[in-house]
């Protein structure tokens, strides 16, 4: 049972780390004011959920994140397909894509706040600018790597452009798009939380910023824990969908298309 042994080691590692942290904080080897205690963080998370005070924030962040994720991915895939299938357009737009991608997205947050206000929209916009490029580059790459032989064969068998898109390009790019989805989720959360952190009235980022404002490290860590669990859950969901949609891939050859 190698799988079980690995699991046990993983659990042990986490437990050991938490115990060490708890012990160091309790015995004053690290300052609980700056580092808090795992037990206090767990208690705080528990209280948030028990009293229900975290739910409105969680809801806001979820909405922002999902909107950014969906919109960014959709735009990224559409533009990725378009530029990959129209090399002339790609040649023209190439420097602009590179230039836009070179902007550190966080500096856009103030601009988006000015444009879209303090609400959900400005966070979604920030998330989209992050998610878009991941989906875009992966889709572009995926389409570019379609086996020319498979493509020629499909054409000779009578495929029209719409057939090629549906039966050749998209499935071939699917493994790239899926790997981009898993990165995108993290980016969507970053967009939402950083946006909230920099200016908002609700959301987990707001919660963390508030806690930080009053030097409540327990609150900051508790916010981090909730975010982490949230992203892991979404990642697992995407993983399940991915396994279902990519059953055709052989085990030993991950991500290939030829």
């Amino acid at each position: 049972m190698r799988g079980l042994r690995v699991r046990l080691w993983q659990a042990g590692l986490l437990l050991g780390f938490l115990l060490l942290w708890e012990w160091a904080s309790r015995t004053g080897r690290i300052d609980p004011f700056f580092f808090s205690l795992p037990s206090a963080i767990a208690q705080r998370v528990w209280r948030w959920f028990a009293t229900g005070e975290v739910y409105p924030h969680l809801y806001i962040t979820t909405v922002e994140m999902l909107l950014a994720f969906a919109l960014g991915t959709l735009l990224g895939v559409v533009f990725g397909l378009w530029l990959a299938l129209a090399p002339a357009v790609a040649a023209v737009l190439d420097p602009y894509v590179k230039a836009l991608n070179a902007i550190p997205r966080v500096v856009l947050a103030p601009i988006f706040t000015l444009w879209f206000g303090l609400g959900v929209l400005s966070k979604v916009a920030l998330g989209v600018t992050l998610v878009f490029f991941v989906a875009f580059f992966n889709t572009y790459q995926g389409v570019k790597e379609v086996s020319p032989l498979v493509l020629q064969n499909a054409r000779l068998l009578g495929a029209k452009p719409s057939h090629l898109l549906r039966h050749v390009y998209l499935p071939a790019a699917a493994s790239w798009i899926f790997s981009s989805l898993r990165t995108s989720i993290g980016f969507a959360v970053i967009g939402a939380v950083v946006g909230e952190y920099l200016g908002s009235a609700a959301g987990l980022g707001y919660l963390i910023a508030q806690a930080e404002g009053v030097f409540d490290t327990t609150g900051v860590f508790a916010g981090m824990v909730v975010l982490m669990a949230f992203v892991l859950a979404l990642d697992a969901l995407v993983g399940t969908v991915e396994r279902r949609l990519l059953v055709w891939r052989s085990k030993e050859r991950e991500g290939g298309s030829a």
Partner: protein, 258 residues
């Protein structure tokens, strides 16, 4: 008899490299013609020209007396490497050419099932290509090409990657299917025995570059044939000796050039 497919003074150059030069070759309807020659003699180039994947630099291809423009609409092309879609099951792969022609999926799958049974894969309908052996994938490819009802079958060393037993099995299978409705076949191989065993006519190409046909041998062996048994008949051996006489010089020249 009017020829079904005719190369007229076809020259194909890739930049400065002239692959084939001044090729004139006419295929009678229903004829099984093999092109043999040393590696790099432009056999595949001629197939690509016949399929309409490649436009000749000079000369033209006539299809039933009319110049060929763009993709050849009546050609089925079986490539040397697998060109079936790895993300579709055997059944869907074979159904696809019908779907491209506007047949609904249900009916297309029904007809695909019949074809897969014809090539001996009735029990592997739901398998993905990576779950099939090399020989089975070739059968899927063959069924996929034949289901569209091509009048011209172009084959580029389709069985060269298979072991010798599977190969003879596939050759017999091909002859059996061909016997049913006698499509015109242009079969490219570097294996002279395979060429003689299958064909009505064997055309020998000179070593490249500037390759062209240098010998044209009718193969008057009786049909139906068994490719394994026919190799042992005196008539086969006589033909083999006669053609090899010519081919050997070209193979040596190709070697010296390479």
């Amino acid at each position: 008899m009017a020829s079904f497919l005719e190369f007229r003074q076809v020259t194909v150059a890739f930049g400065d490299y002239v692959a084939v030069e001044g090729v004139s070759l006419a295929l009678a309807p229903g004829a099984f013609v093999s092109l043999v020659g040393p590696t790099g003699c432009g056999k595949s180039t001629l197939l690509n020209v016949a399929a309409g994947l490649l436009a000749p630099s000079r000369g033209e291809v006539l299809l039933e007396g009319r110049p060929l423009k763009g993709l050849n609409p009546v050609a089925g092309y079986l490539f040397q490497q697998d060109a079936i879609l790895p993300w579709k099951t055997a059944l869907d792969n074979v159904a696809l050419p019908l779907v491209f022609r506007g047949v609904p999926w249900g009916e297309a799958r029904e007809r695909a099932r019949v074809w897969l049974e014809k090539v001996g894969l009735g029990r592997f309908l739901r398998h993905y290509p990576h779950q099939l052996s090399g020989g089975m994938r070739k059968r899927v490819g063959l069924a996929q090409v034949l289901i569209a009802g091509p009048k011209l079958l172009l084959m580029d060393e389709p069985f060269s990657a298979l072991d010798i037993q599977t190969r003879q099995l596939m050759e017999n299978e091909l002859l059996r299917l061909w016997q049913e409705d006698r499509k015109t076949v242009l079969f490219v191989t570097h294996d002279l025995e395979e060429a003689i065993a299958l064909s009505d006519r064997v055309v020998v190409m000179s070593a490249g570059p500037r390759s062209r046909p240098i010998g044209d041998f009718p193969i008057p062996l009786p049909r139906p044939r068994d490719v394994a048994e026919i190799r042992l008949t005196p008539e086969f051996l006589r033909l083999h000796r006669e053609i090899w006489e010519l081919l050997r010089g070209e193979v040596l020249r190709a070697h010296a050039g390479a």
